[in-house]
């Protein structure tokens, strides 16, 4: 019982710290007489949602598609790539160093090129999110697939187990915590990738909206956009966390 009690306390305190931040923000703006252009109050920020011109829903949808789409692509291709690496050792020796080199490229620097290749729109931004998410997922998955206890390998070998049995029963489930730790890192990066893409050139999305309202100095709308962007990232992270809780035994999770 004391365990669940402590959990309630933990949640309550977390909620409390968030509320305090909002309250502090409110009092700072109101009693500090901060101009709305510099920093809007929480109320003004929410109020910005009422401006129909900003087409919030459409922009949220665009950014969400980029974030989730880029992340999903990275998860699918990242895990597949790592699987190929673990099945074909020479492929890993051949391609992994190349991936490491390519990862040195600041993905943001590719933005203008992606626009040249793919024009404005959702695609280049999705690709940007993908490019940022891909590597951490490949890296952690490949590492997870490698980490098989040598003695466990011996156990399977004495039973004349097949390569496939080793993979299905030991390697893949053993790699799952690593896959999730890579996806958690990627979930946070995905949002950054999509927004940078929207900054560089786009006609939709919350990043695009931020640039638009910057011109008119509607700081409240910019605040709202940042909050919504954070929420999109939070939802993605929450989904990954939920899946991890479901699929990975408590003891095996990598924090």
């Amino acid at each position: 019982m004391s365990g669940s009690n402590e959990q309630v306390q933990r949640y309550a305190l977390a909620v409390l710290s968030h509320l305090i931040l909002v309250a502090a923000w409110h009092f700072f703006v109101v009693y500090g007489k901060i101009p709305k252009i510099v920093m809007p109050s929480p109320y003004d920020t929410i109020h910005a949602l009422l401006v129909p011109n900003y087409r919030w829903l459409e922009n949220i949808a665009a950014t969400s598609i980029e974030v989730f789409g880029g992340f999903l692509l990275a998860a699918v291709f990242g895990i597949l790539t790592a699987l190929m690496f673990s099945w074909f050792r020479y492929l890993e020796m051949f391609a992994m160093p190349l991936l490491v080199s390519l990862n040195m490229i600041p993905k943001v620097a590719l933005g203008p090129l992606m626009i040249v290749w793919l024009r404005y729109g959702i695609w280049p931004n999705t690709l940007m999110a993908f490019a940022i998410c891909f590597f951490p997922i490949v890296l952690t998955t490949a590492r997870g697939l490698r980490e098989v206890e040598p003695d466990l390998l011996d156990l399977v070998r004495t039973l004349r187990g097949s390569r496939w049995q080793l993979f299905v029963k030991i390697q893949l489930p053993g790699a799952l915590p690593y896959i999730f730790s890579g996806m958690k890192v990627a979930a946070i990066l995905a949002v950054a990738g999509a927004i940078v893409g929207e900054f560089l050139g786009s006609e939709r999305g919350l990043g695009y909206l931020m640039l638009q309202v910057q011109v008119t100095l509607d700081t409240a709308a910019m605040f709202m956009a940042v909050i919504l962007i954070t929420l999109i990232g939070g939802v993605l992270y929450g989904i990954v966390l939920g899946l991890e809780r479901y699929f990975v035994v408590k003891d095996a999770r990598i924090q």
Binding site: E149, D154, L155, T158, G161, Q165, K169, V249, D251, A252
Partner: protein, 254 residues
Amino acid sequence: MTEAFIHLDNVKKVYRTRGKEFLAVSQATFDVEQGELVSLVGPSGCGKTTLLKILAGLHGFDGGVVRIGSGKQPFNPARDIGMVFQQPLLLKWRRIIDNVMLPAEILGLPQAAARARAYELLDLVGLKGHEDKYPYELSGGMQQRASIARALVHDPKLILMDEPFGALDALTREKMNLELLQIWAKAKKTIIFVTHGITEAVFLGTRVVVLTAGPAKMADNFEVDIPMPRTLDVRNTEKFGEYTRRIYRLLGME
């Protein structure tokens, strides 16, 4: 004269690293009868684990003869070996019962029968009621018992144990020694038990094979003439002392 279940004659193993040769096992000559519990004892570097892996078919060897099984005592290397390691090596994501089932799954044994047997074995090793727990919910000693049940689930003829109690605290280790003797008596398996504990080797073994290091070679092989079932008290007997002194002498520690 009938053939022994396991027969080793002058087995030798050499490791080669960067052009240098390193003798891992030599002059290993001993027989094991079915149902014996043989302790392989010696300091680190004496080749006891290497010898165990040769018996498991995991390592080749560079000289001598290794034969397991005979006409009357058939032995199928794919089915008749159970392994227990120093670490329990249970799969974290499987419940205890499913961990015990692993060898049966790999061998493709009929699942229902194997499951029933897995429950029986968990009862035998004292884990009744813990079948549906995850490994992290059990203590180190309990995890090691589960791994012993796993080694028995496919009903192998030979159990190879590589310092299975080496990572446990002294008290748990003594308890596990007693329980291993009970499990061995009930399961009626041939067990080869690697240890660097001299007391443990004599206490458990119906036979003790002593290996020495630098250079690695087999130094002694004797039967332990202390009747089963044994209790911890036998360690205070004169006979027990003679056996341990015999080993200490060989290891140059007297």
